[in-house]
């Protein structure tokens, strides 16, 4: 992109001021900060390539960016909007400005300064603590099967289960009485019914509160089918299985 460069006096200064140490501002964080600022300008209407660094000196946390002519005017407009609060900021800029504020290291604030044609635009942004977005959850009754690997005692006893299809141990909140009931079952199979909270994207059970500890003496599917065969007797001998399944499913 062959953008025209703005006059030298339109240089934008970003200055992090406060409790800074080399450890608190590693390069990735600095890049995130710069990228977030570039996005602010970009959303305002300039291209991301319209900003680049200039006049970098050692021992300086101040960064001078040289904008293109277009980016210079956008930046001054945006910086001019960044008053003591965000109420006056255009709606489409609020999100990117919040992202920018979230990138400011703890214990610092960010000063922005730009002089254009003798007019000075300044803003001071404080850090905004943004909670990472939580996945939507679903809550409901369920049953889990697994191997009981241990019970953590304490104010809130917790049973730890190894469950098929789950990488991590499944933790189950149990009452003290349930913990006593589960004690003899350690290393054995368990069937626990309770109230679960799922991550609706991964279907991981985030929280499970036991309501019923079942007496569970599992048999293999092979043995279950053998007993079923005894019970069914000859009833299924001449059954057209496909027709039966299709009829019961309303096809």
């Amino acid at each position: 992109m062959d953008a025209a460069t703005a006059p030298a006096d339109s240089v934008i200064t970003l200055r992090l001021v406060g409790d800074l140490t080399p450890d608190s501002m590693p390069l990735p964080k600095l890049l995130e900060l710069l990228a977030a600022f570039a996005k602010v300008v970009q959303v305002g209407g300039a291209a991301a390539e319209d900003l680049h660094l200039t006049q970098i000196t050692s021992a300086s946390v101040g960064l001078n960016l040289v904008p293109s002519e277009a980016a210079a005017s956008v930046a001054s407009y945006v910086i001019g909007q960044l008053g003591p609060d965000l109420d006056s900021v255009d709606d489409e800029l609020k999100g990117p400005v919040q992202e920018l504020r979230a990138k400011i290291p703890h214990g610092t604030h960010l000063e922005l300064r730009q002089a254009v044609d003798g007019e000075v635009f300044e803003a001071r942004l404080t850090r905004l603590d943004v909670e990472p977005p939580k996945p939507p959850v679903i809550t409901g009754w369920t049953v889990v099967y697994g191997i009981l690997e241990g019970i953590l005692a304490g104010k809130q006893p917790t049973a730890r289960l190894r469950v098929p299809g789950r990488e991590r141990q499944q933790r189950v909140k149990v009452t003290k009485e349930q913990a006593r009931q589960l004690g003899p079952m350690i290393t054995g199979p368990v069937k626990i019914e309770g109230l679960a909270t799922w991550d609706s994207e991964t279907w991981e059970i985030l929280d499970l509160e036991a309501k019923v500890i079942h007496d569970f003496e599992p048999i293999s599917l092979r043995e279950g089918l053998a007993r079923l065969a005894e019970i069914a007797g000859s009833a299924w001998d001449d059954l057209d299985v496909d027709t039966y399944i299709h009829s019961i499913r309303g096809r």
Binding site: G165, T187, A196, G224, A229
Partner: protein, 166 residues
């Protein structure tokens, strides 16, 4: 950790029938698959039965007494309920256009019970859905492996005796 196989009604009925008589074809494939599972050897179950499948199997029995007796037995297997997570997956499956295994969309939605069975398996992060009618589950193929019991060449009559106690 390996997820469970979720077993369809046709595999259970055929497998059970294979234990009553020497048969050829699908019934033998069903019981051979079940025998190969070697469940609980690693202390964990390998197969699960969606509650909808349990309902279909019970409905295939002739009397109340048989159903009650079967229920006692089948409760000792891993029967997985159609819970809130499965309901959420079900709604997504029913909402999506039905896609064939070749990736074509034919505009039909999946059948009610098929979707409930598949949703139960997906919500429980099942490894496979094992059925003799994989084409009925084309809609679920993007989310779970749908497979038939493998072919077998069985010569010996199958013992009617139950497996030794674990």
């Amino acid at each position: 950790m390996q997820g469970l196989d979720f077993v369809d009604s046709n595999v259970l009925i055929r497998g059970s029938r294979a234990l009553r008589r020497t048969d050829e074809g699908a019934d033998n494939r069903a019981i051979a698959y079940v025998e190969d599972l070697k469940e609980w050897e690693g202390k964990l179950p390998k197969a699960a039965i969606p509650a909808i499948v349990l309902a279909e199997v019970l409905a295939g029995l002739e009397s109340k007494e048989e159903r009650e007796e079967a229920m006692k037995v089948l409760q000792r297997l891993v029967v997985v309920p159609f819970d809130a997570a499965a309901a959420h997956v079900y709604a997504q499956l029913r909402d999506a256009p039905r896609k064939t295994r070749k990736g074509e969309t034919n505009g039909r939605v999946c059948a009610h019970a098929d979707a409930m069975i598949a949703a139960t398996a997906i919500a429980n992060r099942g490894a496979r859905l094992v059925t003799f009618d994989p084409s009925d589950y084309d809609f679920a193929a993007p989310y779970i492996t749908v497979t038939e019991p493998p072919s077998v060449a069985r010569q010996d009559p199958i013992s009617f005796e139950a497996t030794p106690p674990m």
